[in-house]
Symmetry: C2
Subunit: 223 residues, 2 copies
């Protein structure tokens, strides 16, 4: 009588199918323009059925955000598992972030959507929102671990609080990859074209300055 378990599995599977359909429609029509009717049709379900799995369109979109943050976290975890100096791991995480935005811009778009939500009640009641928040916190922890490693191996200035430093890097690189996202998603209106600077070069400078600024070498100079 494993019916109960199977039901639960199938239910979860259906939800994933709906998220698949949503991603597909969004890729075709755009994040804002996608409608629940289209998503339902793509998932071969009625619109009403969508609401049996997600309480609202916003929650469905948070499910996409969750997928994205899962993937990004996996990438960070992989970097942390590698044999590299702390500083090198931070650089690699930055590269992963940039690559992620380039190859899965939809997920980054979903991150932005998540951040733009102001409805507290919704955020509090949605399990998806909670998981997204958890992942966000997790990503920060991965960075913090890499920084701690760097402080141990002597590649990173150990006078900083690792968590605070992680937050600085997490936030500032968010701004950098947002610019990369903009260039990627709307290449014809962007600041970048006017200025004729490419993302790789800019990202290189960012990493260089960051590395310079927080390296243990930099500390020695000040002492």
């Amino acid at each position: 009588m494993g019916t109960e378990k199977r039901r639960s599995r199938e239910k979860a599977r259906r939800a994933e199918t709906i998220v698949d359909a949503a991603e597909k429609v969004i890729l075709e029509k755009g994040f804002e323009a996608a409608t629940m009717d289209e998503i339902a049709e793509s998932a071969e379900l009625s619109k009403g059925a969508l609401y049996l799995y997600f309480r609202s369109k916003a929650e469905l979109y948070l499910a996409i955000c969750l997928r994205g943050s899962n993937e990004l976290n996996s990438r960070f975890a992989a970097v942390l598992a590698s044999r590299n100096s702390g500083l090198e791991m931070i650089r690699k995480m930055g590269e992963e972030y940039l690559d992620f935005v380039k190859n899965k811009p939809l997920y980054f778009r979903a991150f932005s959507y998540y951040e733009s939500i102001q409805d507290f009640e919704f955020l509090q009641e949605s399990g998806y929102a909670e998981l997204c928040e958890k992942n966000s916190s997790q990503a920060l922890t991965y960075m913090s671990r890499a920084l701690q490693a760097g402080m141990q191996d002597g590649t990173i200035d150990n006078r900083y609080d690792p968590m605070e430093l992680a937050l600085v890097i997490w936030s500032s690189s968010r701004g950098i990859v947002q610019m990369a996202f903009l260039k990627h998603s709307s290449p014809h209106r962007n600041i970048l074209n006017e200025v004729e600077i490419d993302i790789q070069s800019m990202f290189g400078s960012y990493i260089e300055i960051l590395s310079n600024g927080m390296s243990a070498e930099s500390k020695k100079r000040i002492d």
Copy 2:
């Protein structure tokens, strides 16, 4: 017969009144939740009249974005006019940016909205969008000027391209102030609380690392 001119002035004034009303409603109801009906009522006009001044709700929101970018640019311009080293000016610009987000979060929200627009045609046809883009480019130029000054006065590493460096700083600080905005606008769900780090401290670290990383001192070390 200065009627024509007066008409034009009054028309412009009306448009400003509508933007005022929109800001008021958004502050009360939120950026997404504000409706054109409410804005019209607040402006003591019918909804139809709004569309005589703005082609769409999106364009009205871009008018808000334009106001915000005007203000931010004024602040940057003021910093550039001060007697400070290049490095000091960059720091001051960062502080202005942070202060701007704290005191005028609505405008920062409008910036995010502007960046999220994907409809090219709309962006191309809207005069407001063009002005916003111009301002964005202008802000970057202000930063670039401060950096050039710093390269001259010896406070900033002169091996970087000023414009590229400006873009790095502009983008990364956007990420930092976005975090500040999040903390300000939704203090009860944010990463920051879990981690117990306050924005001022984090911003201080950001500026320190940035300064370290791009200072001429840092260059000497590498040579």
